[in-house]
Structure formats: structure tokens, C-alpha cells
């Protein structure tokens, strides 16, 4: 598979670019923020995503989706990132669908039609700490009658309060740190004993802390096999990590493009500031890093699509590289904009905020660099 977009992918990129920049540019996020939008995204836009076919990118043709791969999902995510578009695409159509694809037909039949039509939003109830530690999941799911009883707390569930269902990772056996004994469940939002507390985050998105107080689910809520949830969780994490890396590359590119434009307009000391070599070199360095990050993300997506066993390492490389590089892009962006970069009126600050949230989502650059070291045996 060559490392550039083929004709179909380039067409998808064109239509995603035009659609997202047209319908949901940064001003869309600003408007939602200003009106204190409860869900942090527009359901009407999610419907439009469905009409474009985007919501079914990772759903197989057998299940009425487009049957495409992570490269194609990444194309849409990069445009979402570039425009800072608030959308449940990453959690629902990328990470959520990847988990459900690893589960049974009954769950796919129950949830895929809603996802395809843009009616259903999924939340990912994975995290139990402020830092991403999926190997330390401790929340309990005890056997009870025909099903299970869930007790515990999850945090940083993006769109958790507006989601129609949550994907919940819990322990049916073993303890934190074991790879056996994990089980993943689909839990509908109106389940008795489920309570969510919504929080507005720095990037204006809305996440929830979710409390499970004797929440009862049937056996058919299990995604995959009881005690064998690690594979389902891995599918979810791979998709979510590669996907958020792609979105980060979009955020970084958007910030860089905005900054380069500014360097060509802003005058100081009687010169365009883009004429100063000090700024030129930093910008060129940033460009080089962004290109490398984009390549790392594409490699990870291609390996995922091929089912290649090297995907695991490369997904962490992609998230780490995209995390560090986009961090650089937004810091340089604000700095090179000078005073105006610190104002709410200018968009560059929005990029800095989104980068911070996306960096934390499913593991920051340090977490993933550490993971790369572990996988290489040191």
C-alpha cells in the first residue's frame, strides 16, 4: 500500500474538506461555546455527517456501512481537527464502531442503524483516573441473575451526558493490572442506577463523570466474551488512538496554516514578521515535524487496516509524535501571533485548547513513548 492517498481517498478528502470547512469552521465552535450549548455539539450536524456517509465509514457493507478503513476515518478526522469541529465522530463512529465490530451480530444490529442515520451517539466509559491507565481498570461487574451488576465510577467520558449508550469496561474477574477478567458492556443511558455529571472542558467540549450504582445489564449487553474483553478494548483503543492522532494532525496543521498566514500579513519594525529568519526557521522546523507526524499517523492507519501485528507499536508512535508536534504547533502559533494570540477574539487560542484535550484523550505523548519503550523490551 503506497503511503499516499489513492484516487477514491483523495475524493473523500476533497468532499470532507469542503463539507466540514463549509458547515462547521471554527466559528461554529465559537457559536456553540458562546451559547453554552449543553451537549457541546450540534445533533443536526451529526445528521449531516450521516447523510455524507461518514458515520458508516468503519461499518462493513454487510451491516449497511461503507466498509472502509482507518485511513478513510483519518481523512475525516484530520478535517475535523483542522476546523475544530465538535462532533461525536471519533467516539461513536471510530472507537465505538471498532469495539462493536469485535462483538456479536445482535449488538451491531441494535446500534449500527442509529449510528448510520446519525441518531445514536456513543460514549466511552474507560477511564477511572485523571491520566489514561487502561491497564488499571478496576470497576466491578458482578454476575447477577441472567446478567451483571455494575458498580463504580468512570471519568472523562466525552459526550457522556448526551450519549445514547456507553461502552463500559469493567472487571468480571481478576484485579487491576490483569489482562484476563475484563469485560466490555453496552449500557443504555436510561439504565436504572446510572448517573452522569456533565463538565465543560477547556476546549468547550462536554465530558461526564459517570457513576454506576448497582446498574443491571443482561448477558447480551456483553461485547465479545465475558472475561475476554481485552481484545475488544484493544480494538477500541487502537481506533481511538490512531483517530485522535489524525485529528491532532489536523489541529496542528490548522494552527500552522493560520500562523503562516499571519506571518505574511503582520508588520513590525517596518517589515513583515515572516521576513525574520528567527521565525522562518522555527516555522520550517514545525512544517518538517508536522509532515513526519502525518506520515506516522498514515503508517499506523495502514497497518491497522491490514491487520498487521506491527500496528500496536505504530499507533503509539503516531499518538506520541502527533501529540508532541501539535503541542509545538499551537505553542508556536500563540507565541508568533503575539499579544493578539492571547485574546479570545482570535481563533488561535481555540487550537491550543483543543490540542490540550486531545493530547490527554487515550494517552498523552509521554504515555505512548513509554509504551513504545515497553514494547521494545526496555
Amino acid at each position: 500500500m503506497p503511503m499516499y492517498l489513492n484516487e477514491d481517498q483523495a475524493m473523500l478528502q476533497d468532499s470532507a474538506r469542503e463539507f466540514i470547512a463549509g458547515e462547521a469552521p471554527v466559528s461554529h465552535l465559537r457559536a456553540l461555546r458562546d451559547e453554552n450549548c449543553k451537549d457541546g455539539f450540534r445533533h443536526a450536524l451529526w445528521k449531516q455527517f450521516a447523510e455524507m456517509g461518514f458515520t458508516g465509514i468503519l461499518i462493513s457493507e454487510e451491516d449497511d456501512g461503507l466498509g472502509l478503513g482507518h485511513v478513510e476515518a483519518g481523512i475525516v478526522l484530520e478535517e475535523i481537527g483542522r476546523n475544530l469541529t465538535p462532533s461525536p465522530f471519533l467516539t461513536t463512529s471510530v472507537a465505538g464502531v471498532s469495539a462493536l465490530n469485535a462483538g456479536g451480530k445482535a449488538l451491531r444490529e441494535k446500534y449500527f442503524p442509529g449510528i448510520l442515520s446519525g441518531d445514536t451517539v456513543l460514549g466511552l466509559a474507560i477511564e477511572e483516573r485523571a491520566k489514561h491507565r487502561p491497564d488499571q481498570i478496576a470497576m466491578a461487574a458482578e454476575r447477577s441473575g441472567n446478567g451483571f451488576k455494575l458498580n463504580g465510577k468512570k471519568t472523562f467520558v466525552i459526550h457522556g451526558a448526551s450519549a445514547d449508550a456507553l461502552i463500559v469496561a469493567a472487571r468480571t474477574a481478576g484485579s487491576a493490572g490483569d489482562s484476563e477478567g475484563l469485560t466490555l458492556f453496552m449500557v443504555d443511558k436510561d439504565a436504572a442506577g446510572l448517573s452522569t455529571e456533565a463538565t465543560r472542558l477547556v476546549d468547550s467540549s462536554v465530558a461526564a463523570a459517570v457513576t454506576f450504582d448497582n446498574v443491571e445489564v443482561d448477558a447480551d449487553a456483553v461485547i465479545g466474551e465475558v472475561d475476554q474483553g481485552q481484545d475488544v478494548l484493544d480494538a477500541l483503543l487502537h481506533a481511538g488512538r490512531a483517530g485522535s492522532a489524525a485529528e491532532l494532525v489536523g489541529v496542528g496543521s490548522g494552527a500552522m496554516d493560520m500562523t503562516v498566514d499571519y506571518l505574511k500579513q503582520r508588520k513590525q519594525f517596518g517589515k513583515l514578521i515572516g521576513e525574520f529568519q528567527a521565525l522562518q526557521h522555527r516555522t520550517s522546523h514545525l512544517y518538517s515535524e508536522m509532515e513526519i507526524a502525518r506520515a506516522a499517523v498514515m503508517k499506523a492507519q495502514q497497518l491497522l487496516d491490514q491487520g498487521n501485528e506491527g500496528a500496536d507499536v505504530m499507533v503509539s508512535v503516531a499518538k506520541a509524535k502527533a501529540g508532541r508536534t501539535t503541542g509545538l504547533a499551537v505553542r508556536e502559533g500563540v507565541q508568533m501571533h503575539g499579544g493578539i494570540g492571547m485574546t479570545d477574539e482570535y481563533d488561535i487560542g481555540f487550537y491550543m485548547k483543543r490540542d490540550r484535550a486531545l493530547n490527554e484523550f487515550m494517552g498523552d505523548a509521554n504515555y505512548h513513548a513509554n509504551r513504545v519503550a515497553r514494547m521494545h523490551g526496555y
Binding site: T283, I292, A373
Partner: protein, 397 residues
């Protein structure tokens, strides 16, 4: 020629069988020092019989330059065949039969700009390792600002008379011929430079080695005092040598930019952990160094993906023409960082300058040598300038 999958599978097994028969075991060991590499040339001698046998077997088949046309000394491999050839070489760890600036730098320029006579004559010589080439670009006052060069070739009708000085001419004291940038018009800074080839034994050519911080050096100063160069030894058009030089620098930068990947090992950290050791939880026993290595491995693997993307884009003619500058910048900076980490990991052992166990200071000498990566072939600062100007279109860049 089209390659069907079946043809290519057959091709691969043929290559595999040929290598098995013709590549001696001694030529399947990693290169340790300078004399493990055969550079060819008039005064060349082989280190041992295995090196000679391997070189001669490859020359006979056109495998020193496998992707060049047969008429020019190659094997006429298609890109797909050439890839298989390289893969099969790498699989058994085969050393290149011939290392040569003629192959890496001059050859591609001649293939693109040379006349038919030049191609037949020079490319065949290069393929057979008969002539060892050096490159005459930089001058004492013209390093990064190459177009300011002063070496002048005066037109004398059927020949030029060249006067001036070059610097950083790698292996000039060991080479047979030079490909050289010479000013042939003093009026036009850019369109006044020609690309000349001439014999280093021509009267008036002299060389003087330059010792570097690494304690040794391939570099020389090279002096031209009324050197006579026949008119048919120009490559490309008169006064358009800059086109040839830029084309060639593109190849050189691609070659240098591969450096950050090291010897193909996927993880520098994994290698270093074996030397330093791990603690009870399996972590490299130096947490700060471990963190630096982890960051480096991320950067190296990401760059490797970029290198693959770069090659794919170039082949499909999709890449930005200034992309090689970006690759050169990123690759050389990464390589320098790699050797900083190797030195830090080696501790006091890596400081040894003269001993049998240290392979005569291989580590510190290599570390010091890599500092030139971001200077030679265009400095990192010049690469960043090119990106600013040609890709980002920044004002006044």
C-alpha cells in the same frame, strides 16, 4: 517491461540462488572499518580474496548498478526488480560490492544530463569501479552560498584553463577524476557556472588533506593552477551547471537523510538496554536516559514512516520538489541525536580514543563525524531557508 507477480517471484528466487552462490560469507558481515569498503579506482587494492570475488561477480552481472541500463554497465532492472534485489541483499546482510560517489552522485546526473557518448564512456567506467570520483563544489568562501564560487575556467577555444581552489573535496587525494563546478561567466551569478569533469592527474592539480575533530578525515583542499580541461568534458549546457548540481544535490540529500535510521535496528533503546541493563521491573536502569531513548525511538519510527512516504510520493511524482530539503534537515538532525544518545549510553567506555576493544575509538569518532551531517550537502539552516521560501512561501525568504 512489465512485472507480473509470477515473474517477480521467479526473479526473487533466481536472485536468492545467485547470491547464495556468489556472495562469500565474509561479505555478509557488517562493515566495521574503512578498509571493509571497496571504493575502486586506478590504485585500488582488495582487502582479501572474498572482497575481490564478490566485486567481480557483481561487475560481471551489472549488479554494482543494477537499475542502470545494460548499455551503461547495469543490469537493466525495473524498479520492482531493483527493490527485490535490495531486499535480498539486505536479507543476507550483503555488503555493497562497490562504494562510489560515481554511483550515488555523478551517475544519476549523467543519466539525466549526459550525452550518449558520455553515458557509454563514463557510466561503464563507474559500473566497473575503474575510476574513483570526487566532488568539487565548496570553496573556502563558498560553502552554503555555493553560487558565489570563484574557481574560474577561461575559454581558450577548444579547452578551458581552470584556476582556483576547492575545499571539503572528499577523498580528493585518493581519487582519479573530479566532477567540478567552475565559473565560466563572471557576469551572471547563477547562469555562469558549468559542470566539468577532469582527471586529477592533469598538470596543475594538487591536494592537501584536512584533519577533522574526529582525528581523521576524508576531506582535502584541492588546488587548480592552469589546469587544461577539454571542451567535451562538460556535463549539460555551458553556464547551466547549476541545474546539474542541484539535481545531484537532491540525490546526495536523499542519501544523507537516510542516516537517522541507523543500521536498520528498530529500536535504539532496546540495543542500549542490553548494555546498561534493566531494573527489577524491566525498565532500562537510568530513567532519564530511558525517557530520552523512548522519545528518540518515537522520532526514529515516525521518520522511518516519513522516509517510506517520501519515496512513494517521489515515485508517483506527488511530492513537493523541495521535500528532499525537509528530509535532509530532519534526517541529519535525527542522526546527530542518535549518536549523542549512543555516547551518553556508553559512558566512559565510549570515550576511548585508542584501544583494540573500542575498535580504535569508533564510537567517539563516529559521533564527532556526524556533526558534519547537518553542514555538508547544505547546512540545516540552508534547508530551513529553502523550506521557508519554496514550501511555506514566506516573504523575503
Amino acid at each position: 517491461m512489465s512485472d507480473t507477480q509470477i515473474d517477480l517471484e521467479q526473479f526473487r528466487s533466481d536472485i536468492r540462488a545467485w547470491l547464495e552462490e556468489n556472495c562469500p560469507q565474509e561479505m555478509r558481515q557488517p562493515v566495521k572499518g574503512e578498509d571493509d569498503v571497496y571504493w575502486g579506482g586506478r590504485n585500488a587494492s582488495f582487502k582479501n580474496d572474498a572482497q575481490k570475488a564478490w566485486f567481480e561477480a557483481c561487475v560481471a552481472k551489472g549488479y554494482t548498478v543494477a537499475d542502470w541500463p545494460k548499455a551503461y554497465g547495469g543490469a537493466g532492472f525495473t524498479p520492482a526488480q531493483n527493490k527485490i534485489w535490495k531486499q535480498e541483499m539486505a536479507r543476507i546482510g550483503a555488503r555493497p560490492p562497490l562504494s562510489s560517489f560515481g554511483i550515488w552522485m555523478l551517475g544519476p546526473a549523467l543519466l539525466h544530463f549526459g550525452t550518449e557518448e558520455q553515458k557509454v564512456h563514463y557510466l561503464n567506467q563507474i559500473a566497473r569501479g575503474e575510476i574513483r570520483w570526487c566532488q568539487g563544489y565548496s570553496e573556502p568562501g563558498s560553502g552554503s552560498d555555493l553560487v558565489s564560487l570563484q574557481t574560474f575556467g577561461e575559454d581558450k577555444g577548444d579547452h578551458w584553463v581552470v584556476n582556483g581552489q576547492k575545499i571539503w573535496t572528499s577523498y580528493a587525494d585518493k581519487c582519479d577524476w573530479i566532477f567540478c563546478l567552475v565559473r565560466t561567466n563572471k557576469e551572471d551569478k547563477y547562469r555562469g557556472i558549468s559542470f566539468l569533469l577532469f582527471d586529477m592527474e592533469t598538470p596543475g592539480v594538487s591536494t592537501k588533506p584536512i584533519k577533522l575533530i574526529s582525528g581523521n578525515s576524508p576531506f582535502c583542499e584541492t588546488f587548480f593552477d592552469n589546469v587544461v580541461v577539454p571542451k567535451d568534458q562538460i556535463v549539460g549546457e555551458l553556464n547551466r551547471g547549476w541545474d546539474v548540481a542541484k539535481y545531484l544535490l537532491g540525490h546526495e540529500r536523499e542519501m544523507i537523510s537516510g542516516g537517522g535510521l541507523g543500521d536498520g535496528a528498530p529500536s535504539l533503546g532496546a540495543k542500549i538496554a542490553k548494555v546498561i541493563g534493566t531494573d527489577d521491573s524491566g525498565n532500562l536502569d537510568d530513567p532519564m536516559l530511558r525517557a530520552q531513548l523512548a522519545q528518540f525511538d518515537v522520532d526514529a519510527l515516525a521518520f522511518k514512516a516519513m522516509a517510506e512516504k517520501f519515496v512513494d510520493e517521489m515515485k508517483a511524482r506527488k511530492g513537493h520538489p523541495a521535500k528532499p530539503n525537509m528530509m535532509k534537515y530532519a534526517g541529519t538532525e535525527l542522526n546527530k541525536q542518535r549518536h549523542e544518545l549512543i555516547m551518553a549510553s556508553g559512558g566512559s567506555d565510549a570515550l576511548e580514543w585508542e584501544s583494540e576493544t573500542s575498535n580504535h575509538g569508533a564510537k567517539p569518532r563516529t559521533w564527532l563525524r556526524t556533526k558534519a551531517n547537518s553542514i555538508e550537502g547544505g547546512t540545516s539552516e540552508v534547508m530551513l531557508n529553502v523550506i521557508s521560501k519554496r514550501i511555506l512561501d514566506l516573504p523575503g525568504a
